[in-house]
């Protein structure tokens, strides 16, 4: 039996009193079949009808009451949920075990089983009572109230900014340094361009027909840095003239002297 099927009429919608159960009329008991929250709930209610402390109830009497209740419910063709019947079967077993002579009893003993059932009832009973006491307390929003229109507290964060003199001046320095117009200067260097070298080499080839070593094309005087540049451009000029078929290049050995002469047509 789930609580969904419990009838609203049986205390489902009110908290005080929570369990308005009739205590005397058997008829009323039957009418409330759907009001129980499961077999344990029914057992607890039956136990309460014994009008003694839950610790002092007669389990045997309770079992009889429960079985009787189930029997009569079945006679009235009321639909019983399976867990009620399971409980009935287990209680019937408990009863028969309790009626057996001590030496024939199995382990765990029926006394232990009965005690266990009693504890379960006590535990549920305690929670039921606790719930009722809880619900009956002075409750916020029902019995006691908070302030209707609190102003509310606000915490604004305020930042104390700090910066020191040096950081300020340094920052300005960085800005000026970063944005100062940058001038890039390349130092002047004596060079012989490829055009000049081509002209010089072609001119000398036109004058002589024999092999000429590459050094002879270079300017003899002046800056040694110019000589380096002239060597490089003269070499490229030689290759260019050879490619055009206007000159031949000879070298006797790797890294040996390079020589050039006019191509013989």
């Amino acid at each position: 039996m789930s609580e969904d099927t419990a009838l609203a009429a049986h205390g489902e919608d009110s908290d005080a009193p929570l369990w308005p159960r009739p205590t005397n009329s058997d008829d009323a008991l039957y009418l409330e079949l759907d009001g129980w929250e499961g077999p344990l709930d029914l057992l607890l209610d039956l136990a309460r009808r014994q009008r003694v402390d839950l610790r002092a109830i007669s389990i045997l009497a309770l079992v009889d009451q429960y079985l009787d209740y189930i029997e009569r419910a079945e006679a009235l063709r009321l639909e019983l949920a399976a867990d009620y019947l399971v409980m009935a079967a287990w209680l019937a077993y408990l009863k028969s075990a309790m009626l057996l002579p001590k030496e024939e009893q199995e382990d765990p003993s029926p006394e232990e089983l009965a005690l266990r059932l009693q504890l379960r009832l006590q535990r549920l009973g305690a929670m039921r009572e606790a719930a009722a006491r809880l619900m009956a307390r002075d409750r916020l929003g029902r019995d006691v109230f908070l302030r209707g229109a609190p102003e509310g507290l606000r915490t604004d964060r305020k930042t104390n900014w700090s910066c020191d003199w040096f950081a300020l001046v340094q920052a300005y320095g960085h800005v000026r340094a970063r944005t100062a117009p940058a001038v890039h200067m390349v130092r002047e260097r004596p060079v012989m361009t490829l055009e000049t070298a081509l002209e010089r080499v072609s001119a000398m080839l036109g004058v002589r027909v024999d092999w000429i070593r590459i050094e002879e094309f270079l300017p003899t005087a002046g800056d040694p840095r110019l000589r380096k540049s002239a060597l490089a451009s003269s070499f490229v000029a030689m290759l260019e003239l050879a490619r055009l078929g206007r000159a031949e290049i000879a070298q006797d050995a790797p890294f040996g002297p390079l020589a050039l002469r006019r191509a013989v047509a």
């Binding site: 709930d41 549920l124 509310g152 507290l153």
Partner: protein, 201 residues
């Protein structure tokens, strides 16, 4: 007439009156410019005494303080609209079990009630803000466990869970422990596992 309340008490009064939620001593201390918590606590206790005979009370709930109307004046203040939503019997029972046994899993709740709990019941309690999931129990299946919230203490006017009606007595009689444990202490042995429990749980 009222003795002139000292400045700290006045500041506490004003802050708690204006706050739209209960405040812990720490929150109050921070708001009032780091007043020493010890003197705050003393001032709060004195203020609560001051207000005790009045129509407004200063109360502590779960370590947080707020003003509320005196309970005995409920009859002039009770508002119907607040009263409409009532808890089902199942929900009140589950709430009590969570409060007295927390943290507790759904299976443990069902073991106590001897009946399945419909899924909506815990939801209703969580929606009300009174129950929250509080992690998982480190047992096979790692079931979610539930506990009550500060709003639960607020609503039911409890300073802490120790104020739950009758909780000390229940604890003393072993009714807040699993059956097996209670059985063991009653019988003086550890004989665990019982068909009745298995069948009913």
């Amino acid at each position: 007439m009222i003795d002139a309340p000292d400045e700290l008490a006045r500041a506490i009064e004003a802050a708690l009156f204006a706050s739209d939620q209960p405040m812990s001593v720490e929150a109050l201390a921070a708001h009032l410019g780091d007043a020493p918590p010890a003197s705050l606590r003393a001032a709060l206790a004195a203020l609560a005494d001051d207000y005790a005979p009045r129509g407004i009370h200063l109360v502590e709930r779960g370590g947080r303080w707020h003003f509320e109307t005196a309970a005995d004046l409920a009859h002039i203040l009770r508002r119907e609209r607040e009263h409409n939503r009532r808890l089902s019997r199942a929900a009140t029972e589950v709430l009590a079990i969570v409060a007295y046994h927390e943290p507790v899993s759904r299976a443990e709740i069902e073991a106590i009630r001897g009946v399945q709990t419909s899924p909506g019941t815990l939801d209703v309690l969580m929606e009300a803000g009174w129950v929250r999931p509080a992690g998982r129990r480190e047992v096979p299946g790692r079931p979610v466990i539930y506990a009550t919230t500060p709003a639960f203490l607020d609503h039911f006017g409890l300073e802490s869970r120790r104020d739950l009606p009758g909780i000390e007595e229940l604890r003393a009689t072993g009714l807040l422990e699993p059956i097996d444990q209670t059985m063991a202490s009653v019988l003086g042995d550890d004989d665990a596992g019982n068909p009745a429990d298995e069948r009913l749980d």
